[in-house]
């Protein structure tokens, strides 16, 4: 099963919308609730990262009976050092974004914690791809 969603950078009032929609689908597939919980947390953090740090992006979800595969592609500034970005507490969030309650630098570490396989690719000035798999 294949799902696609668009995400707009900077649109904080809609942040989490795609994750919510995907959660609704996952709940109907009779997956273990704890598996759903992990996927939704990772998805939410990755979606918010597009909203907070990039210009626009899309979310592609593929589900079969053994795994959920999620790819988040964005057009944006990219991440210069993925290693640093993965550190707990590291954040380049603008004061405005912090004002809205984001920017603790916990998003990527949370994604790591809640996924079985995680692959991040980024080109500075072009964009970032966050690719993760959770097994069922």
């Amino acid at each position: 099963m294949h799902l696609e969603y668009k995400v707009q950078g900077g649109n904080f009032s809609k942040a989490g919308h795609a994750s919510g929609e995907i959660k609704k689908v996952l709940k109907q597939l009779n997956l273990n609730p704890m598996v759903i919980k992990r996927i939704v947390v990772a998805l939410y953090e990755a979606e918010v990262n597009i909203v907070a740090h990039a210009y626009e992006g899309d979310i592609i979800v593929d589900i079969d009976d053994s795994k959920v595969h999620v790819v988040l592609n964005d057009r944006g500034p990219g991440i210069p050092s993925i290693e640093r970005a993965m550190e707990k507490g590291y954040s380049t969030a603008s004061p405005l974004v912090r004002e809205m309650g984001f920017g603790a630098g916990m998003g990527l570490p949370n994604i790591k914690k809640n996924t079985d396989e995680l692959n991040i690719k980024s080109v500075v000035g072009e964009g970032t791809t966050v690719d993760f798999i959770n097994y069922l």
Binding site: L29, N30, L31
Partner: protein, 452 residues
């Protein structure tokens, strides 16, 4: 994960088929999509209903009822205990005293009276222990049985956030049995009857979640008891009974416990109290999506204003709150520290676990569920997406789900029918007039034919 079979779930809410005209009001309000209209009457799903009572409030035909307790059944017992929630006081005028109410209950036929909230201190202790012993956030109060059931069915992952403790009704019930045992009374001679403000608490008494059995014998509906007590209070008015001495009284905390904000000040850390089922769902969705972990405690109540808004209460909920606050703030309020009866251990009031009972799954087998999900999305796209309810389902989404589960034929949708009946030009014209060209009729038919 252990699942109860749906047929074993007790419900206190039922539809009176003679009164129900299938108007769909209840179906649209239900927060777990538990209602469908079939053969002209509302049908409530056993596995989905959480006994919140919202459908009763929505019904204009008095067609949804709550199980009735029988006052005569108390007389089967030698010792007849009335177990009353503090909101019962809030139903009466302020000049009705605590003594008056106890005397009225005794003259109806009870042999003693206890208040549900007498064991609130045990709950405070349990909440705090739960907060300290786990790193779960937010910890969620298990006071309101409708909320516990809501979490079981719609937010299954949050069942582990619920405080694992018996209900106040059960802890106080235990108190009553222990006091009786202390006096050498045979427990089989004791009948404890809870005067309930809502349907959810009937379920909690008849089949407590996560616990085998309740020490409570039965329940009596508060609306019926209000009428009965009013008569008795009228008789008592102005009289004195020198032999009467009230045994129990409530502290300020206990009086306010069941109202919105009643529990919250006793929990640690950052905390919120949220009442009203729609508000609760909005917030739990947020907790579920974002893994909110900087809120320590949630006090959640299905009814607006907490139990003052219970479906079986008589008075206006805002006035009930005001009256209870007046009572709580009186100087005469009890200053007791700790629970009324303290000889109960933490082990006796713990419950092992609250099972998740997710309702959303399309099939047990994941690959079948995935196929059904794809079909469901295809069907949904064909529907007018007006959520009109004429098919007997609350939304077009619910209808598409019922179709893939083979519970309803696609032709139950009026729009699909008109689209397929080429002779029904008048029908098409009407639909076009109301909803415009794009919504349906030829377009829908084309879409359907292309898809086949």
């Amino acid at each position: 994960m252990e699942k109860q079979s749906p047929s074993s779930i007790f419900h206190a809410i039922y539809v009176d088929e003679n009164q129900c005209i299938g108007c769909t009001r209840c179906m649209k309000i239900c927060s777990t999509a538990a209602i469908r209209i079939c053969n002209g009457t509302a049908m409530i799903s056993n596995s989905r209903c959480i006994d919140c009572g919202e459908c009763i409030k929505a019904c204009n035909f008095n067609a949804i009822h709550i199980s009735q307790g029988d006052l005569q059944s108390i007389f089967k017992y030698k010792y007849r205990v009335a177990l009353i929630p503090a909101v019962l006081f809030g139903q009466f005028k302020l000049d009705v005293t605590h003594d008056d109410l106890h005397r009225a209950l005794l003259s109806i036929g009870f042999t003693s009276v206890y208040e549900e909230e007498l064991s609130a201190e045990f709950q405070i202790d349990a909440i705090r222990r739960f907060q300290q012993e786990s790193d779960i956030k937010p910890v969620i109060s298990s006071f309101c049985p409708a909320i516990v059931r809501l979490i079981q069915v719609r937010f299954p992952t949050l069942t582990e956030n619920l405080v694992l403790v018996k209900s106040l009704i059960d802890i106080t019930g235990l108190t009553i049995l222990k006091e009786a045992a202390d006096k050498g009374i045979d427990p089989s001679d004791v009948g404890i009857f809870y005067i309930t403000p809502c349907a959810a608490k009937i379920c909690a008494v008849v089949s407590p979640v996560g616990d085998e059995k309740s020490p409570i014998t039965g329940f009596l509906n508060m609306d019926m008891m209000f009428d009965r007590l009013s008569i008795e209070l009228q008789k008592i008015k102005g009289t004195v009974d020198p032999s009467f001495k009230r045994k129990t009284s409530l502290t300020r905390t206990e009086v306010k416990w069941s109202l919105t904000g009643g529990e919250i000040k006793h929990a640690f850390g950052r905390k919120l109290s949220i009442d009203g089922i729609a508000n609760v769902i909005e917030f739990l969705n947020k907790v579920d999506d974002e893994a909110i972990d900087d809120i320590d405690f949630l006090e959640l109540r299905a009814c607006d204003q907490g139990c003052a808004g219970g479906i079986l209460t008589q008075g206006n909920r805002f006035l009930t709150v005001e009256k209870l606050m007046m009572r709580a703030n009186k100087k005469a309020v009890n200053k007791r520290h700790g629970p009324y009866y303290s000889d109960i251990t933490y082990d006796e009031i713990k419950v092992p676990t609250v099972n998740p009972r997710p309702i959303e799954g399309l099939d047990k087998d994941i690959s079948v569920a995935i196929k059904k999900m794809e079909q469901k999305q295809e069907i949904y796209k064909m529907l007018p997406q007006l959520d009109c309810g004429c098919c007997g389902c609350p939304t077009c989404e619910a209808f598409s789900e019922d179709v893939v589960k083979s519970l309803k034929p696609l032709s139950s949708c009026m729009f699909i029918q008109v689209a397929f009946n080429s002779k029904n030009d008048r029908g098409k014209e009407i639909i076009r007039k109301i909803w415009g060209d794009s919504k349906i009729v030829e377009e829908l038919k084309n879409k359907l034919e292309n898809d086949n």
